[in-house]
C-alpha cells in the first residue's frame, strides 16, 4: 500500500480558530499531512484547533500516537484541541486512551466552536 490515505483540509474560523476536515485513514504515515494542516491552521497563531473526524475511515495505534504528538505541541503553546464527528467506536477508543480528557469532544462543529465563542 502506498503513502498516507488521508486528506486534511483546513478552514479558518475567525482569526484564532481553525477546523481540520479529516477524510480517510489516520495512521502514523499521515503525520506529515497533519503537521502541514497544523501549520496551515495558523501554527502558533491559532489558539483553538478543531478536528473534524466525520470523514474518518480508519485509525490505528500509530494514528493515536500521532495525535499525542500533536497534543504535546499544542500543550506547549497553550493551544486548545477539540474534536467532533467521531463514531461511537472511536469515541470509545478516545475514552480508553483518555485522549478525551485532553481533546474535548463535541457532537458537532457548531458546539465545538461555540464553546470558545468562535461560532459563526
Amino acid at each position: 500500500m502506498d503513502g498516507p490515505r488521508v486528506t486534511m483540509d483546513v478552514r479558518h474560523i475567525g482569526e484564532t480558530a481553525a477546523v481540520v476536515d479529516i477524510k480517510g485513514d489516520v495512521t502514523a504515515a499521515c503525520e506529515p499531512v497533519l503537521m502541514s494542516a497544523y501549520e496551515q491552521a495558523g501554527g502558533l497563531a491559532a489558539s483553538r484547533l478543531v478536528l473534524n473526524f466525520g470523514g474518518l475511515e480508519y485509525m490505528n495505534s500509530g494514528g493515536i500516537g500521532m495525535l499525542v504528538t500533536l497534543l504535546v505541541r499544542a500543550n506547549r503553546h497553550r493551544q486548545q484541541l477539540a474534536a467532533y464527528g467521531l463514531t461511537d467506536h472511536y469515541r470509545e477508543i478516545f475514552e480508553l486512551t483518555r485522549l478525551d480528557e485532553a481533546i474535548t469532544i463535541f457532537e458537532d462543529e457548531a458546539s465545538a466552536l461555540a464553546s470558545t465563542g468562535t461560532a459563526r
Binding site: 490505528n60 495505534s61 500516537g65 499525542v68 504535546v72 500543550n75 467506536h89 486512551t97
Partner: protein
C-alpha cells in the same frame, strides 16, 4: 496472556484463511477480510468494530515486529467459529517474541510529559478490544489468537 508451545490450532468451523504480505498498511486488508468472514456470526456492530481494531493491531505487530516488514514473508490469518466464540489467529514467522508494546501500561499524562513515547498503544488496544488473547509459538511460527464471544455480555 499465556504462551503455549504446542502447535495447537483452534477447533471449530473455519470461516476464512488467507495471507497478507508484510507491507505497511496491509492490516487494512486483513481487517476487511475478517469482517467479511464474520459478517453472519452474530457479533453486534460495536463488537465487530472492536474485533476489527484488534485484528488490525495484531496484524501490524506481525508485519513490523514478527516479519520485520519483509514483503515476501506472509502473515497468515485464520478465522474460526467455535460455538459462540470467534477466534482469529494471526501468525508471523518471527519465532518467539513478545507482542510489540511497552512493558508498562501506556499513560497519556506520562506521554504528554515526555516520560513515555507517543506511540505504543497497540498491545493496549488489543487487550481492551477483545474478550481473550493468547500467544503461542511453534518454531518460527508465532501466533496471536484473539477471541471474541458472539453471545452473552454484548455492548
Amino acid at each position: 496472556m499465556t504462551s503455549l508451545t504446542q502447535p495447537a490450532r483452534p477447533p471449530g468451523r473455519r470461516l476464512a484463511a488467507f495471507a497478507v504480505a508484510s507491507e505497511p498498511g496491509n492490516e487494512r486488508l486483513a481487517l476487511d477480510q475478517v469482517a467479511a468472514a464474520v459478517a453472519s456470526s452474530g457479533l453486534t456492530p460495536a463488537r465487530l468494530e472492536r474485533l476489527k481494531t484488534a485484528v488490525a493491531e495484531a496484524t501490524m505487530n506481525a508485519i513490523e515486529h514478527g516479519n520485520l516488514g519483509q514483503p515476501d514473508v506472509p502473515v497468515d490469518v485464520e478465522v474460526i467459529q467455535d460455538g459462540a466464540d470467534i477466534i482469529v489467529a494471526i501468525t508471523d514467522l518471527g519465532g518467539e517474541h513478545q507482542p510489540a508494546g511497552p512493558a508498562e501500561e501506556p499513560d497519556l499524562a506520562l506521554k504528554l510529559d515526555g516520560v513515555q513515547r507517543a506511540r505504543g498503544w497497540g498491545l493496549f488496544l488489543i487487550r481492551n478490544m477483545v474478550d481473550g488473547m493468547q500467544v503461542r509459538t511453534d518454531g518460527q511460527r508465532h501466533t496471536v489468537e484473539l477471541t471474541m464471544r458472539s453471545e452473552g455480555d454484548q455492548t
